[in-house]
Amino acid sequence: MAGPIKLSGGPGYRAKLRALGLVAPLLIFIVVTFVAPLGTMLVRSVYDPVVADAFPETLELLDDWDGSELPQEAVYAMAAREIKRAGTERTLGQVASRVNRVQGGLRSAITRTERELRDIEQGPWRESMTAIDSVWADPGIWYAIKTTGERFTARHYWNALDLQSLPDGSVVRQPEDRRIYLRLLWRTLMISGLITLLSLILGYPIAHLIACSSPSRANLLLILVLVPFWTSLLVRTTAWIVLLQTQGVLNEFLVTIGLISDGGRLAMIYNMTGTIVAMTHVLLPFMVLPLYSVMSSIPSTQMDAAASLGATPLQAFLRVYWPQSLPGVGAGGLLVFILAIGYYITPALVGGSDGQLISNMIAYHMQTSLNWGLAAALGGVLLLIVLVLYAVYERLLGVEKIGLGG
């Protein structure tokens, strides 16, 4: 196809190729530095080879085991051998901590077994192992080894959804006291919804005020909205700690003017209130900016026209203005909600114990409990929710409309 090069960017083949060529470097960059890491995380949520690699032959023998009684002596002998080997290869710690997640107490049992087996060369293995720790006389540990031995597994997702799989293969809900994550997810959604609602209530009037102002005043007011937007998140969080803590500015002020007593200082931070106040402050600009950009395209003459036709201000607002501002409400609301459900920093710093969100649980499993599979599965659940909301946003409004307020 030889023809003159079309520089005007018509829908021709060359123009298409040129456009793709320009976009390709960035696409490749994002796929490699961003999408691939997300993929790695998702793989972690369903793939865990540690136990399978350490106990390959024991697991093979356990294949035929039905789970109701104790396994044969041969299984004990093989397990003893592979526990010893894992001990010398220093993988036993990782194995033990995985098995321990199925049933508490097994970590120490397994490491103790390894320590004491070092001096034992001869069977009967079942007898010696049971003598070391009585857990070996219970089918539970064998079931724990068998489930954690699955290379590809759904158990992290069952955990993340407060479910568990039983030896007979059925999947049931966790006992009442171990249902943590669904409740936390629900709380995250509720708090995010509340923050979105608060942002709308606070943001709608000021977006309207800015949209109705003269250009120079609008610019000044926009700067007031944008100062927090540009100010470091940690600075804003620090500011709320300074304001709201027990010895903070607001409590001191209230005590000084005598509204509360010195002993009756309000607990406004390091709890759910702190999370809600600070996050509303942080996310409010993301509500105001899309609202403003929609409202500034609504002609102010329409309200006058409605009034001249006899509508009260409330009628005019509800029938004329509000419907036209809805795209802004949708854009701002979705954006704030999407950002809120994934928030980590602010709840971690000011949330105390009841103001933590699902992200904080992911961080906990990443950094403290080191249950990376569960962290990845919780991340997968959160990612799915965000992607669904993102797709809704894209369908309704198009991603290019995401408000930036530059």
């Binding site: 005007s8 960017g9 829908p11 123009a15 298409k16 040129r18 456009a19 320009l22 976009v23 960035l26 696409l27 960059f29 994002i30 796929v31 530095t33 961003f34 999408v35 691939a36 890491p37 997300l38 790695t40 995380m41 606070l202 009037p205 000021i206 005020l209 610019n219 007011l221 700067i223 944008l226 100062v227 927090p228 540009w230 100010t231 470091s232 998140l233 940690l234 600075v235 500011a239 700690i241 300074v242 500015v249 001191e252 950002l339 994934g342 980590y344 992200s359 961080a363 990443m366 950094q367 990845a376 991340g379 959160l382 990612l383 965000v386 993102y390 894209e394 991603v399 995401i402 530059g406």
Partner: protein, 273 residues
Amino acid sequence: MGAARLNLGRIAYLGFCTIVFVFLVAPIIVIVPLSFNAEPYFTFTEGMLRLDPDAWSLRWYREIIQSEAWVRSLVNSMFIGTSATVLATVLGTVAALGLAGSAIPARRVIMGVIISPMVTPVIIAAAGMFFFYSGLGLGQTYVSIILAHAALGVPFVVVTVTATLAGYDPNLNNAAASLGAGPWTIFRRVQFPLISPGVISGALFAFAVSFDEVVVVLFMAGVEQRTIPRQMWSGIREQISPAILAVATFLVVFAVLLLLTVNWLRRRGEGGA
């Protein structure tokens, strides 16, 4: 009576808006005077309220400047921020040129991928990057943090430059071509000068994203790569002292400067288009 009610409504409306603006700005302003507190408190002492000069001091600023950890974190933030910004701006601007106009196929999918770092919860991205870069042997390195920050900042560049390009008249390219200019000359001499306010705005956004980012740094940085937000994070969690307010004040001033620059560029861009 109707007019009186209208006025009351108007007063309530303006009063409410004022309260919201105070809510937005006051917390940030309050920390500025508190950073000059002579005492290690987070509240105004009586002396400060009486404007007693002894109650005000620069001790926390001195502490920051003399602290090796803080100075190092500033250098790190600048280095990581600048590198990530250059990377994000070049890739983002080039991509925006490709996205302008109607030639690009599968535009929505491509935009969806490019914007994804902006809406994905950072904790998920950081967790994934931790696994990914440690697997490549790049855990706790500047390279991995710079790449991560560039990915988080690049959507802002694309969105800003795309918006500027929407106001760009493609006939200018034709005119330049008819005068004998090649594609590169057209870009360098005609197109780039006209869209440069958008490019600079995008770059400032990308820098601000990196300069403020802490989750990726928490997961991936060693002590060597600690940035200012990371240092503040420790400060808030471990030994909270007004020295943090001194840093915060510095960051507020920095943010206002960035904001005013972007605002000025935006208005200039609008004037030009």
